[in-house]
Symmetry: D2
Subunit: 297 residues, 4 copies
Amino acid sequence: MAKTVAFLGLGHMGAPMASNLVTAGFTVKGFDPVTELLDAAVESGVEKCLSPRESVDCADFVVSMLPNSAAVECLYIDTDKLLESIARDSLVIDCSTIAANSAKRLTHEAQIKGIHAIEAPVSGGVAGASKGTLSFMCGGDAGDVDRAREVLEPMGSNIFYAGAAGAGQTAKICNNMLLAIQMIGTAEALQMGVDNGLDPNVLSEIMVKSSGANWSLQNYNPYPGVMPEAPASKNYSGGFMVKLMCKDLGLAQEAATHSKSYTPLGSMARNLYGILSLRGGSDLDFSSIQKLFQTVD
Amino acid sequence: MAKTVAFLGLGHMGAPMASNLVTAGFTVKGFDPVTELLDAAVESGVEKCLSPRESVDCADFVVSMLPNSAAVECLYIDTDKLLESIARDSLVIDCSTIAANSAKRLTHEAQIKGIHAIEAPVSGGVAGASKGTLSFMCGGDAGDVDRAREVLEPMGSNIFYAGAAGAGQTAKICNNMLLAIQMIGTAEALQMGVDNGLDPNVLSEIMVKSSGANWSLQNYNPYPGVMPEAPASKNYSGGFMVKLMCKDLGLAQEAATHSKSYTPLGSMARNLYGILSLRGGSDLDFSSIQKLFQTVD
Amino acid sequence: MAKTVAFLGLGHMGAPMASNLVTAGFTVKGFDPVTELLDAAVESGVEKCLSPRESVDCADFVVSMLPNSAAVECLYIDTDKLLESIARDSLVIDCSTIAANSAKRLTHEAQIKGIHAIEAPVSGGVAGASKGTLSFMCGGDAGDVDRAREVLEPMGSNIFYAGAAGAGQTAKICNNMLLAIQMIGTAEALQMGVDNGLDPNVLSEIMVKSSGANWSLQNYNPYPGVMPEAPASKNYSGGFMVKLMCKDLGLAQEAATHSKSYTPLGSMARNLYGILSLRGGSDLDFSSIQKLFQTVD
Amino acid sequence: MAKTVAFLGLGHMGAPMASNLVTAGFTVKGFDPVTELLDAAVESGVEKCLSPRESVDCADFVVSMLPNSAAVECLYIDTDKLLESIARDSLVIDCSTIAANSAKRLTHEAQIKGIHAIEAPVSGGVAGASKGTLSFMCGGDAGDVDRAREVLEPMGSNIFYAGAAGAGQTAKICNNMLLAIQMIGTAEALQMGVDNGLDPNVLSEIMVKSSGANWSLQNYNPYPGVMPEAPASKNYSGGFMVKLMCKDLGLAQEAATHSKSYTPLGSMARNLYGILSLRGGSDLDFSSIQKLFQTVD
């Protein structure tokens, strides 16, 4: 008999993830407070539940994909107190990107109730969620993470085990901080090259084959026209929004402050993305940082 | 009959480059004002010349590998006036990393005398010079760059054509600025991860397979112990020295100021490497920026 | 009859503050968990109490000067639950520098118990505490702040009312973030001048009379030898320690992250002071940031 | 008999400066290549000359106020070769803000021809030029600077002697770099305060009386409405334009690169002002950096 997954949070990311679980043969019982999102999910085969509580009833796995720490803590612990309704043999898999401390709290509160819970924040964006090629950065008990693979594999192509509770979230923000730094650095280098007479295509080709190579340069060139399929060539639409990058960079700075770590470029990345978001870039793809270095028309 | 190459500047980079030309069958007539360097080159088959003038006599190609703009301008134009002694059918290939404006000046002054000259600054370090796997970022007349291939190929594995005179230098500093930003960003991310309880090996493995991937993470991990062969695991000895990165980042900032380009992370990279160099890191490999984020013992 | 002040926390700052209250005629009942500090305070006229609870008994005012948010919340609310022992007609004045949210929580929890509480973080350092010339940046009910003046005036020369609960802490970290930025900027400008041949005395004199004037330049020159009485001329001993500035800059970045404010220079200030603290500068006066820009001997 | 001053460059700054010399009783023979500017100066009593050469004929002093290094070097040395027309007993006073190396070159070339020349870059803006309250930061021979006082005093209220040729320019850019850092820091602190609920008037008043005090906070508050007479309260019109601050910060970074000085906040200041200028702020007063930290309407 098909195993059952409760899926909480059916937004841009959650909806395609849930759909991939349906395709893989799971019975997916979904909930989202936004009716339109819930109805849309139903069309891809998700069973409609009218409350979180209804969805987790008899579920083998509980997967959540929520916008921030507060939403996760409210749902499971403080307001909806969902942990009280989850069976002991269920496995909770929270895929939200939240503070490592919130992830630790969830695991800890679950443990008190005898429930197993792990964190599995993702990278790969909406495209990765749709294609089922997300990367999961898992934190929690190693055995629990192994048990989660059956659910994670239909949704992603990389399942990393980062360590104990909180470690998955930490790995995620370290990675995204580095991603932001590299995207900004790539934009700076391309603009400086262009301002000094280079062709951005030629410069991109040289750097991607040299020591300046990075993921952004290879897959996600921020200079308009270099990659026809990249957001940069589509007015920076689609992709990973500036406001989401701002959120991740805020989490990174909170972690750095807490651990007395020093991240001058990571700090600057938060400020530069923030300035871009204040100036109308909030909903653009994060490669639009290129615009910050160009004259406004 | 073997073609003749005059090779000027036989230091850490120049010596193995000249040696690779000897191996490839060129007659290499070398000069360096430091007698020890010149004598060492002779042992690898370079013919000893007592002056730059002697080395360029009847040379098909003149290759130079000098420390900075001033050295190049003094040699060819202002002091030694070597352009006056070079035959019109010679091709000058300057491999030094210098200001784009100096490179343009050399090409221009050569042109006035009917001599063809290109710039071909390299990336790949001493290791690349020894193995003959350097990347050359060429600027100048496209035909001249093609003609240079016969000499460049024995020394390198990538020959890029960046554009007109100066473009090779610009591409080089754009690339190296981006490299510096990525090395610092990688060091920041690894340290923040470790400070929050992650294993640097695990975090490195996650990021190199995720959107944080970059050349440094893949080939040159700055955290001690992650890559046994990297400079980080050898007390940051060998590799590309901090003081050379400082030089390149200074050239990048000069270019950015001149073209009114804005490079906040590139500017910060120069300052952070500078602070490291002031505090005893000048001769260490550039991955030692990791130390800036760690407690001194 | 003399009014009674309970004084909690008799460290570098608290001890001279309590002493000034004794001099002003208050009966001061002190407590500190470190016996040596408590005994030292007794010598200046403070009455020794063996617990926080003993000290607040029958006190007209309760003044606390503690190292961080956690210490304040533990003392009054979570661990020692001191609010339960404070009389309703007492006024609590917390002089610690803590997160605005912690200050709001203290005021709120006190209110629930019918106790009036304000925050009054200080600026002016150990010297200001000794001379009774501190500045207090008060937050809370305006009437309560007025009532506190009788206790604050013997300890300080400026009593600012910043606004409702939390506003005093916010004003304090805004001020200290700006102070840090200016100290670093002053050190950068002086070093760049000296590196280009200027006399630091002459340059300081010019800037202090020009648009570069700031409090640090006027009272606290970071270049050794310019002001014989400044910490810079005494091997950076005394004054306001780097580790305390790091703490304040961490609070500032937490506030900025929380309010989605962008402070590129404030962020960089935290990172630069952090790098200095990692490299042996933790206990030096904060003007020692000058050393970061100079060659290590 | 009235002494004669040749005045070259009658723009926003030069025109009121020349006018003050007329008022002080000098015969002022002016030149500017822009006819409108020249005609406007004539109305305030300047004698119209049709070439630089005509203006310097028989002049006791030659004062120039030009936009950049290239303009100064072209006028005196490379193109107009004005040094060839200046009498040996004239004193050249260049008030332009230019690279220290250009200032040294002018002094040196003048010396070769037996002419005395000093640099005297100013601070104080158009307002200071009009009121005759500029600060002059002089570099050159001390005796020459003393001789210049008779001309400088009617135009300014502070005449600083910074040292040998180039020192005046260095002092100027050190001061202006610090000014920029402080203006940005002030804007960051005010915005963070406001975002956390403080009144900008109250916060300004607290900081100006505390350790955050600086010239900008005292005379030139960047938050709209705090000072009715400041540019911030007049849509950032008037004052010292962003593009001019960008120029000075570029000179500062060139000097820092040349002297291997490290100025992280100074570098960031250039980048932040540059980003503001790219986004439409070029002609606004430099206190408009406040806008970079606020949501665009």
